[in-house]
């Protein structure tokens, strides 16, 4: 490696963009070339000055509030995605695995790309993204299932089971009221590390097949259990969502089906 080549690579090397081989060659050259060593040293100094002293401008709190308020006003008018859902569908290995859940009589079927599924999945993705974007994640913030479940009383005419799954690595964050396809639905929010898991729950309209699919980087799982349809969405890995679904079922299976209070 000559001096000219070396100098080109000094920046990328500092930025961690060089592969191991090139890095080693560069190191060898710099060790025995004073001129290049000085160039490297100066560049390093500039970079540390920038990272140490250049201000990182943080959004003022008041400005954040302003944005949140503006986004909230947008929610009712948020358009449905214009792109056809189908183009985003890709088969996922998880599809079959998620369905192999013991203890529940799930109506299982492979994903038939029905048009109603497209619309619904698209709306679910939209609702999920909206909930994250506008900070509209939680209306009731609690990890206590006994707080979250009653909160829905009177707001919707069905009662989803609410369980904290912290033991399985999925702490309950709370819930909120959301709308899908013009109907009020319960949204239960769980977290797994940095991923938010939204569970939309509504009374099953017809026998809907359990499905797992992916769209726009999200994984969706849908099933019907005791008259309620659950649609679970997250940007967590498909395997994680599969694990979550299993935890949800394991928990439900050990409890007596709750009587609807309303």
């Amino acid at each position: 490696m000559n001096c000219m080549q070396t100098r080109e690579l000094i920046g990328p090397q500092l930025d961690g963009e060089l592969d191991l081989m090139a890095s080693l060659e560069l190191k060898r050259h710099v060790e025995c070339c004073l001129a290049c060593a000085q160039v490297q040293e100066r560049l390093q100094a500039v970079r540390s000055a920038v990272t140490a002293s250049a201000p990182y401008y943080q959004a003022p709190e008041q400005f954040g509030d302003q944005i949140r308020a503006a986004l909230r006003r947008e929610i009712p008018h948020a358009p449905a995605p214009r792109r056809p859902w189908r183009t985003f569908l890709r088969p996922l290995a998880v599809a079959a695995a998620v369905l192999l859940v013991a203890g529940l009589a799930l109506d299982m079927a492979l994903h038939s790309y029905r048009s109603s599924s497209h619309t619904l999945a698209r709306e679910v993705v939209a609702a999920h993204v909206r909930s994250l974007m506008a900070d509209h994640l939680l209306d009731v913030r609690s990890s206590n299932q006994h707080t979250v479940k009653p909160w829905f009383n009177g707001k919707i005419d069905f009662a989803p089971e609410v369980r904290d799954l912290a033991d399985a690595g999925f702490p309950l964050e709370g819930g909120r009221l959301d709308y899908l396809d013009g109907h009020a639905v319960a949204a239960l929010v769980y977290r797994h590390n940095l991923h938010v898991i939204n569970c939309f729950v509504w009374p099953a309209r017809d026998a809907e097949p359990a499905v797992a699919s992916g769209a726009q980087g999200y994984t969706l799982v849908r099933f019907t259990d005791r008259g309620l349809t659950w649609c679970i969405i997250s940007d967590a890995a498909p395997a994680t969502l599969e694990e979550f679904t299993r935890a949800l079922h394991a928990n439900a299976a050990t409890t007596v089906p709750a009587k609807t209070p309303n």
Binding site: R42, A45, S53, A54, P60, Q66, F88, A126
Partner: protein
Amino acid sequence: MLVHLDSAYNLARWLLRSEHDAQDVLQEACLRAFRSFDTFRGGDGRCWLLAIVRNACCSWLERNHRDVPVPLTEDELDQLVSEGDDPQGQLIRQADVDQVRTAIDALPAGFREAIVLRDLEGLSYKEISGITGVPIGTVMSRLARGRKRLEERLLPGLLKEA
């Protein structure tokens, strides 16, 4: 999306060099991002948002020619001085911050943008290329040229200290 608000704000603030303009443009850009989230194809939400913010800033700069940075507001000055420092340390730190900030502000927007995204946001060349819509080679040369200019401006002082 709001989890990336600071990143978006930092980029807009550096590109427009004014608190007031950064807030105006960013609010509009956030609404635009919100309305067009169907263009988000998964992957890194921060890069997606930064690309939208960056485009909004560029069109603003095209419409409004302003060559001189707007001085920091009082609030910004307060924010930039770290609280833990003793008064003496604060003064030294403030001087460093001013010097580096002024030097970066003086760079052409393309160089400034590359340096902010790389050194303050910690993005890879590939991500920067995706956000700014220029080839990776161009990102590299902008970084190199931008840093060269900073070196000329900052290094005499830095070497004296060392």
